[in-house]
């Protein structure tokens, strides 16, 4: 290194990489060093319960995002209306930066004990709480791919050949977007797995009912660190797996 700025940049980059790697993977080191105490916790009822609630509710969130997000993405790509980009910002970008805890509060007030439909602190509440912050991944991936298909003019050709909207969707647009929809699903699922704030406020932390991995880690981190470590390892491993499967899917030849 000759000049100062490259040296500074190298130091900055190293610090960043070290910090990120340590934050992401140190949990495995911790788990290994206290393996004897942590290992039994993997099969403890609480961890398994939270795992089951987490995986199933996140899967439902993914499915719901697919069912509702794909039509929305279709209108973002093909619709012709004013304020489209504003709408996209509100529906796709904002939820990813919004503090989830405020959404949880809104649901608690809107759908809690003070409202006629009291579903606070239920499994349904877990799903709803996760949906807002997670589903934008689905919409984002789908809309981007739909726009690519549109830019290539494939919709014009299919239409000119006589295809109606249903045939255009199910024979051209969706088959061409399969991998992107899968990627959107994986990321939605992974984000839902990690959601804490909204779930905690609206669904509470009731073991075997609404307790998910993140809320379990939160609630036992002081009192039962070994359980928290086991739960954290499970959560991390699942999100790494989701990312790997996503990369595989996207990298494969179109």
């Amino acid at each position: 290194m000759k000049d100062k700025i490259s040296l500074l940049f190298a130091v900055g980059a190293l610090a960043f990489a070290g910090f990120m790697l340590a934050s992401g993977f140190y949990i495995y080191l911790i788990a290994c060093t206290s393996w004897k105490e942590v290992a039994p916790q993997f099969l403890s009822g609480r961890v398994l319960g939270a795992l089951f609630i987490s995986v199933s509710s996140s899967f439902i969130v993914g499915i719901l995002a697919l069912v509702a997000g794909v039509p929305f993405a279709y209108f973002l790509a093909y619709g012709d209306f004013r304020f489209k980009s504003t709408l996209e910002t509100l529906m796709v970008d904002l939820p990813q930066t919004f503090p989830p805890v405020t959404v949880g509060l809104v649901y608690l007030i809107l759908l809690g004990s003070r409202s006629p439909v009291n579903i606070a602190f239920t499994f349904t509440a877990v799903v709803i709480a996760k949906f807002y912050v997670s589903s934008p991944f689905m919409v984002g991936f789908a809309a981007r791919r739909f726009r690519e298909v549109k830019a290539r003019g494939l919709d014009l050709i299919a239409r000119s050949l006589g295809a109606d909207t249903r045939q255009l969707l199910f024979r051209i647009i969706i088959p061409l977007s399969r991998r992107d929809l899968l990627a959107g699903f994986s990321l939605t699922w992974a984000r839902a797995m990690g959601e804490l704030g909204a779930t905690m406020v609206f669904a509470g932390i009731i073991p075997w009912r609404t307790e998910v991995i993140p809320t379990l880690v939160y609630s036992v981190s002081q009192t039962e660190p070994n359980t928290a470590i086991a739960a954290a390892v499970v959560a991390e491993t699942l999100s790494i797996a989701a990312l790997i499967s996503l990369r595989r899917g996207v990298r494969e030849k179109r």
Partner: protein
């Protein structure tokens, strides 16, 4: 074989006037070339005829009937865009049969038609290949076959020779001409190269800045070029 007529067609994109009072009429089965410099409105003209764009003013008329309110899927026109727009997830056979399948054509008729189209464009041996496994000229013929399979009222080709390399150009041009004469469809074909235009067109419409400057047979254009633009285009052929 249908007759296309455009009546005072105007189309603007915001401030850009892409089509300015365009009037044009083909005869049945004619190969009409639309030629002009880049950005003069040729693609826009095809998209308006196709129904992908609504004209701001004027009418598109097929066999004496205005089709302005007819959506694209009901106009029955064949469209081959500049990059051919083959469906990448379907093989050659599936690409060609798509237009027949969406109209619930009986299976035997589809198979028969696809076979006929494949032999028309001489691609029978490549029927199971994906578009990514085809050369530029082969892609063009698949796109042509796909458009012709539905027996279109009108065929719209956008720069069909632009991605064909010079070495095979003459051959591709001849086979294009032969295929279209055999299919007997009225064709509007956009070209920017005067040499291709003169080799292919029954008549040529010369466009500039959204307007049609002159329409005539290659002979007429050579003998009586009506405008400096037309003269310039012809001149480039002999340099």
């Amino acid at each position: 074989m249908k007759i296309l007529r455009l009546e005072n067609v105007c189309k603007s994109y915001g401030e850009t006037r892409a089509l300015d009072m365009v009037n044009l009429e083909t005869t049945a089965g004619e190969f009409m070339v639309v030629m002009g410099p880049s950005g003069c409105g040729k693609t826009t003209l095809l998209l308006v005829i196709l129904g992908a764009l609504q004209p701001d003013e004027g009418h598109v008329i097929i066999d004496g009937e205005a089709v302005d309110d007819l959506p694209m899927e009901s106009r029955g026109m064949g469209y081959v865009p500049q990059d051919f727009g083959l469906f990448p997830h379907m093989n050659v056979r599936q690409n060609i049969s798509f237009g027949l399948e969406v109209k619930n054509t009986p299976r035997e008729v589809i198979d028969q038609t696809v076979k006929r189209m494949l032999s028309l464009v001489q691609l029978s041996q490549h029927s199971e290949r994906r578009p990514s496994e085809l050369s530029g000229g082969e892609k063009q013929r698949v796109a042509l076959a796909r458009a012709l399979a539905t027996n279109p009222s009108l065929l719209l080709l956008d720069e069909p020779l632009s991605s064909i390399d010079e070495a095979t150009k003459t051959h591709v041009r001849e086979s294009l001409k032969k295929i279209l004469k055999e299919a007997g469809a009225t064709t509007i074909c956009v070209l920017h190269n005067p040499e291709d235009a003169f080799a292919l067109g029954d008549r040529i419409a010369v466009m500039n800045k959204g307007r049609i400057i002159q329409v005539g047979t290659p002979q007429e254009l050579l003998e009586e070029p009506r405008d400096s633009i037309v003269k310039k285009l012809i001149a480039t052929m002999y340099v």
